[in-house]
Structure formats: C-alpha cells, structure tokens
Amino acid sequence: MNDALDLAARVASGDRRALARLLTWIESERPGAREALAALYPRTGRAHIVGVTGAPGTGKSTLVSALAAAARARGRSVGILSVDPSSPFTGGALLGDRIRMMDHIADRGVFMRSMASRGSVGGLAVATGDAIRALDAAGCDLVFVETVGAGQAEIDIARAAQTVIVVEAPGLGDEIQAFKAGILEIADVFVINKADREGAERAANALKAMLDLGNTMKQRRVGRGADLSAATLDASGHHAPGGTGAHAAVASGEWRPPILKTVAAEKRGIEAVLEALEAHRTHLVESGEIVLRERERAADDVQRSLGRALIRRALEAAGPARVEALIDAVAARRIDPRAAVDALLDARLDAGQEGE
C-alpha cells in the first residue's frame, strides 16, 4: 500500500493523527491528498454538515463549542472546521478559534481544525469541501464549518453545508446592517446569540420582519424545495419566531428558518438549536431536498475541480516562460487578454495528448 492509501486506511479507522495529516495534505494540495480522498469517498455522505456564519463578535466559536458539547451529550462525534482569512499581503494567518474550543480538548469525540483561507480563488471552497469529506470519512456524525460572514466565504459554505446557521448578536452596532443581502437567503436557522443583552428582542423582530418580507425571495434559491406562496405561509401561523426549532419548521414542506435565542457562553438555548438542526436535516431528507442539494454540491465540486485542473494543465502545458511572455504582451497592450487565453488554450491542445 502506498502512503496515500495507508493514510486513508488510518483515517477510516479513526486515527486522529492521520486525519490531521490528511487535512494538511488537503490544504497544501499534496498530490497524495487526491488519492487518499478518492479512497475515502465511498465512506462519506454520512455526516450532517452544518455551516455556521456571522459577523465577528457574534460568538460563533462559543456557539459551536456549546453545540458540540450538547451533541456529545447525545453521543454524537463532532468535527469542527474553523476557517479564517489569510492575509492577502503576507499569506500568513492568525487563527484564534481554538481558544473557545479548549473545553473539548480532552474529549476524543471532538476533532477541531483551524484553516486559513490561503487566498487562492475558489481554494477555500475546494479545500474546505475536501476537509469536510475527510472528517465525514473519519466518522464524525456532525461537522461544523465556521466562517466569518464576509463576502464569498459564506456563499461557499452555504454550498458545502447541508444546514446553515446564521449567527447574530445584539449590540454590535446597526443590527439591520448585519443581516446584509445574501445572508438571509443562505440561512436555515437563525441564532440570536448573547440574547441576554439589550436589543435581542429588537434584533429578533427585525429579522422576523425581513423574513416575512423576503419570503418569496427565498424560494428563488436554486434547488430548494417545493414552492409555497408567501400568503399560504403567513396564514399557516406555525412559524412564530422564538419557538423551539423543531416546531418552527412548517410541516407543509417548506422550511421556514426558525429564529432562536441563545446565550452560548452560559450554554443557554443550545438544545433548541440542536433540535432545529435535526429538524432541518429531517426536512431535507423527507422533502427529498437533500438529494437535490447533494447533486447541486456535486455539480459545484466537479465544476470547481474542473476549473482548477484546466487552469493548472493549461499553465503547465504552456510553461512559465510562455505564460510570462503572454502576460507581458497583454500588459504592453500588444494583445488583449482573450487572445492570451486563446494562445494558452492552443498550447494546451497541442500538449493535450501527452496525458498527465
């Protein structure tokens, strides 16, 4: 057995050192990572993947830590990926999410990994997707993927996760601002954390109003479940915010994101969130949406991997000197960028028969 297959076997057997090493391989795009993941792929698909996103200061890490504790109490094993941005200038990163997770450090049923986004376009999604699969294959029942809610990252996470928690907290300035465009659409569960602070009720009400308003928008999300008109939903009366997660879901097939309040630092309100996660997972399965989402993600994975592979092959086939020369030519306005791409793709076609 080669190194990669050996590593895959050890990951499958629950060896956390092997899992840690595989994650390193994935992050650094070591060729063996692909082989190991391919070997592990049939073992994936069992974990419930939960994305957790929100602005800095909302207490995401504390919430994840509390959710992990509650899940452990129910006998579930937990994997946590915390993704933070790398500096675009130095490539370095300072990752502090572990500080909140140290309660679980002695518990072999919790595995946590800090990931830096490492800046490459689409790299976050690819590495995170692979990392999720690694944790899934290692036997984690529940995988939390935590990201700062800023820009592209949260959309990537929404694609990678089955259930997305959007975390808010009162007193971080303009509450409405925090629910910025894009975040409403990706949330399956809203959590107002630090709910013992002044303004929690106001934040919940603002959110509820926005949900009511944006109800039709929600259904535009590609691949989401059966359509129901906003009017029907409003009349159903089952989805008052602040209820427990399990009951906040609308039975008739459409999922209305519950709005839950927690004080994660004091482990208050956590059970309701965990129940909402389970309810959402059940909803995905029963509505058949999970199949659609899986397919959506598979398509996305294939497309991204294809894009990266094509770029890599084209650049390799042309060789660095040719690439630099083309870039110089574009910079000097001798040719336009599309012409440079055509030239690179031609080089790729010429070399295409050589295989990898």
Binding site: G57, S61, T62, G96, R100, G171, E266
Partner: protein
C-alpha cells in the same frame, strides 16, 4: 506691555529665532532624527515656549499643591513634609519565607508592606489543586487558609505599618483573612490600614487574572467598598491600577485613560449601591507605572490628578476635598527591564523612580535589577530600595514641591494627555461604558496594537534599547538569582492537610452554604466570607462556591 502685547512680542521673537539662529544651526548640522517621539510614540516638538501653554490657566489648571485640581500634588508641602512610602512588593514560597523577607525589609528602612501572592492564590486555587502544577510560590506567597495568613503576618506591627495586598479576583476573601488574623491578635479592624488591589476591571483589560464574569465581579468589589466604608475607615478598598495595563503594552495615555475610566466605573457602581460618594471616594487609591520617558511620565501623574479631581467634583458631585484627591502608588516598569546586561537596569529604575517622585507619587516600589530573569534576590531588592533612599536624601528633588510645575514642556504635555484621555473616555462611552467595551475587546485591541507597534519600533531601530538593539555586550556578567526553599511546597501541603483535618467540618459546610445563599441573593458577602474564614474554610472552597454561582468568564478573542 499688556499680556497680549507680550505674547505678540514673543511670537515675533520666536519666528525670528526660527529663521535666524535655528535655521543656521540646522543648515550646519541637521538633527539626529526627522521626528522625535516619546516612549508612547507621541511626537515631541523641538522647543516649548510660553506660546505652548497660552491656553493653560495658571490658577484653574495648574493651581497650588494640595488645592483643586491638584495638578501640583495632593499635599501642600509635598515630600518636604513626608517622604513617599517606600513599599517593596515582595512574596514567594511559603508564608514563613515571605514573613522573613518582610522583617528584613522593615529592618532596612522600608515603611510599608506589600504582599505578592502566588498564581494559584490569585486564581483562587489551594496548593493541592491539580491546576497548580509547578506554580507554588513562584510569583508570590501561597495563602490557602487563615492559618497561612497568621504565619505571614506573624510578628509584624499591623497597627503601625500599612499593608498593601496585590490580589484581585479573590480579594474579598484574602482581605477577610487579613482582618480575621489581625482581630485574633487583638487589633480592631477599624485600626487597620492598607490596601487591597481589588481592581478587577484591569484584569479583564490587561492582566487576565479574572475568574468570574464582569458583573458579579463588580458586585463583589462593590461589596468590599461598602463594607470597608462602614467597618475599616482607614483601608483603601480598591487600588485602581494602570500598572498592568501599561505592562501589557499600553501607551502612557492609554494607561492614564483606561485606568481613570475604570476608576469612574467603580464610583458609578458604589453610588448605584447607595453608598455616599464622599464616604467611599477618599478610600480609593491608584497605582500607576513609572516608565522610561521621563517627562511623559511626570506629565501623566499630573494629568491623572487633574482629571480625577474634575471628574469627582463635577461629574460625580463629590463635596469633600478628600474625595477629589488622586492618591497613588507607583512601580517602575517591569517590562522595561532587560535580561541583557541586567546590572544596567539599576540606572533605568533610578530614572523611572525619579519620574514617579517628580510626578508626586505617595508610594513607590522600585524594581530589582534581576527581574527580567527571575524573582528578585535579597541583594537586588536592597539595591532597589537604596535607589529610592538616594533619590530622597541625596538628589535634592524632594526639597521643593513639584519642581517641574510651570515647565512649558511639562505643562503642555500634561494638558495634551488630559485632552487625549478625554477623547478616549468618549470612545468608551460610545461603546456603552467600560463593561461593554471590555466585552467588545476595545481595551485589549488597543493595548495589543500598541505592544506590537513598540516591538516593531525596536526591531526597526526607530527606538534604541541599550543592551538589546544598541550597545550590545556579547558576554555580559551573570547575576546571582533567588533560590527558593525546595521543601516549601511540601510543608505548605502539610499545613493545608492539617487544617482540613482539624477544623470542624460541619461548621465549614454550614458557612459555605450560607455563602452560596448570599451569593445567589444580593447580600453583602464580606460578613459571610469572614465567618467562613474563621471556620477555616480554604480559599479554594470559598472561590468554588462563588464560581458555582457566578460562573467563569471567557474573554473575547483579541489577537
């Protein structure tokens, strides 16, 4: 000449000087740097003249020593009347060892006691707790029970010297032990003078020895203020500390502003409790750092007194003069000491101590030359104490009150720091006050930024540190360091076990249960803690009860 004519004349002469003598000098020899800055990276001008102090009122802003707003000092005669208290912070190992060091220091002419506790004690752990691996007695003395406190204070004249105790999260308990030990020796609590640091806010901000969340911690602090105001009128119930804020990397102005903001927060809580501001305010004291930049430090102390006096009188409506006074202890800057060529630290400490004295401190600790390597040895402590004695008796700076008062530079800097501090108060208020600012990491972020900038300046050699990035000695002499009694931990554990064996276990549980009840409610916890201490409950037993009721704080992640 009228006043404005005089100023116009001065302005004309100054500009003539700039275009004449100055210009000529600069064209012959440029200055050593394009800009000059303080230790806090604040820009400093070439020259200060009456024009720089034109907006400063000689009466309302500067005034006289012992008079509002106390810029020139809290006492009319300054050090001519009474020298500052020479108070050396000490403590290590067992209560016996520290007791012996205290007797040595008193014998050497020290005039007040200052107790350092070990980290387990500071975190409310007994010596036998597993969390304390390797920490026993390392940074101070271990105190678990009343028995330990009695050994620590054995033979010390508690009715004559004042005792300062650097303790925060468990301050109420340690104080209760001190009171109980004194009363057992027949010294009434009303006669006890001293200070508990008891400044929990700066723990969240800088030193990080917090245990409970901020609000229950503030309740505990307010309990001690209320209790002290009634029962121990000579005791300083909080020593509002900028020292640790500065050590964590803050600039002088941040130290000034954050400390005074903390002070005002304690005042708000005590007033909200219903304690008369004029009853407790005179018992608040301060503790500032004395760092490298001589004039900046002097100005900081002067600005602190003026800001505090104005806040107490105008913002909080205090009527008694004693409520307006900012009395302070000072310690030279530990973080400024170098491990490289440790002996040269003596010179740093002397200059820093001089700044504190000229700033008008009431009490002073001078660091020992070996403190960037280990706890100070006895001979190093002696040199540090002698440094204060030289300043007091040989340097001549104690012959007149506030000799730097009226210096264009010092007065301009004092006013600039006051304004800058006021700006920071505004920022804190905009975040909702001190506690929300702590929870949002305002202070922590500013301090971490300043610390990183300071390090960067050293590494870029924009700032020279003798022995570190300049004048480096390849083979510096070694200094002897303190050796601790390796057997101390065993003896401490034995005493703890004996206390637990011999005490009335039922009484202990009853007192702890009463404490739990009290903590759940809103009773003042000091009487309950005194009862538990007398029943010989251990520090950790009491702290665990409070941890159970109050919870344990997780600080915001600021990197």
């Amino acid at each position: 000449m009228t006043e404005s004519n005089a100023m116009a004349h001065l302005r004309a002469r100054q500009s003539a000087w700039e275009t004449g003598a100055l210009h000529e000098a600069l064209s012959r020899m440029p200055e050593r740097a394009e800009t000059f800055m303080t230790t806090s990276s604040e820009p400093i001008e070439r020259l200060y003249t009456p024009l720089d102090v034109a907006g400063i009122d000689p009466v309302d802003d500067i005034g006289f020593p012992g008079e509002y707003p106390y810029t020139r000092g809290v006492h009319p005669t300054g050090p001519r009347g009474k020298l500052w208290t020479m108070r050396m912070f000490a403590g290590f190992g067992t209560a016996e060892e520290t007791n012996a060091r205290f007797k040595f220091l008193l014998n050497e002419g020290q005039t007040g006691l200052s107790v350092a506790f070990d980290l387990p004690t500071l975190y409310g752990y007994d010596t036998d707790a597993p969390e304390t691996l390797g920490e026993f007695g390392k940074c101070g003395v271990a105190i678990c029970t009343l028995d330990d406190m009695e050994v620590l204070l054995n033979g010390l004249p508690l009715d004559k010297v004042t005792t300062s105790m650097t303790i925060n999260s468990p301050a109420a308990i340690i104080w209760a032990m001190y009171i109980a030990a004194a009363e057992k020796r027949g010294i009434p609590r009303a006669a006890l003078g001293g200070t508990i640091q008891n400044d929990i806010l700066k723990e969240y901000i800088a030193q990080k020895e917090f245990i409970f969340p901020p609000r229950p911690s503030m309740r505990l602090v307010t309990d001690t203020v209320e209790f002290g105001t009634r029962d121990l009128p000579l005791w300083n119930t909080i020593s509002i500390s900028g020292y640790h804020i500065r050590e964590a990397g803050a600039t002088a102005v941040q130290e000034l502003a954050f400390t005074l903001a903390d002070g005002m927060e304690y005042v708000r809580w005590a007033i909200a409790r219903g304690v008369d501001v004029d009853a407790f305010a005179p018992r608040l004291s301060f503790f500032f750092n004395a760092h490298n930049d001589f004039f900046e430090e002097v100005a900081k102390f002067r600005a602190a007194r003026r800001i505090w006096a104005r806040a107490m009188r105008e913002r909080f409506g205090a009527k008694r003069e004693r409520s307006w006074l900012l009395r302070t202890h000072a310690q030279t800057a530990g973080a400024s000491l170098t491990a490289q060529q440790p002996e040269i630290n003596v010179a740093r400490v002397a200059l820093q101590a001089m700044a504190a004295v000229l700033g008008g401190t009431q009490s002073l600790h001078t660091n020992s030359l070996d403190e960037a390597l280990a706890l100070p040895s006895q001979s190093a402590v002696q040199i540090a104490l002698r440094t204060q004695q030289i300043i007091a008796h040989e340097s001549g700076v104690a012959n007149t009150v506030d000799p730097l008062g009226g210096s264009y530079f010092v007065e301009a800097l004092t006013t600039r720091m006051e304004r800058e501090a006021e700006r920071m108060f505004g920022e804190i208020e905009a975040l909702g006050g001190v506690l929300p600012a702590i929870e949002q990491g305002y202070f922590q972020r500013h301090i971490a930024d300043s610390a990183a900038r300071y390090q960067h300046e050293i590494e870029q050699r924009q700032r020279l540190v003798v022995g570190v990035n300049a004048y480096v000695d390849a083979a510096p002499p070694r200094v002897p360091i303190l050796k601790m009694d390796r057997d101390g931990e065993r003896r401490q554990l034995e005493r703890l076990a004996r206390v637990k064996r011999e005490r009335d276990a039922e009484a202990v549980s009853a007192r702890l249960a009463a404490l739990r009840e009290g903590a759940r409610g809103s009773a003042n916890l000091m009487p309950l803690l005194l009862e538990a201490v007398l029943a010989r409950a251990t520090l950790q037993e009491m702290m665990d009860v409070l941890r159970g009721v109050f919870g344990v704080y997780q600080e915001p992640v600021i990197l």
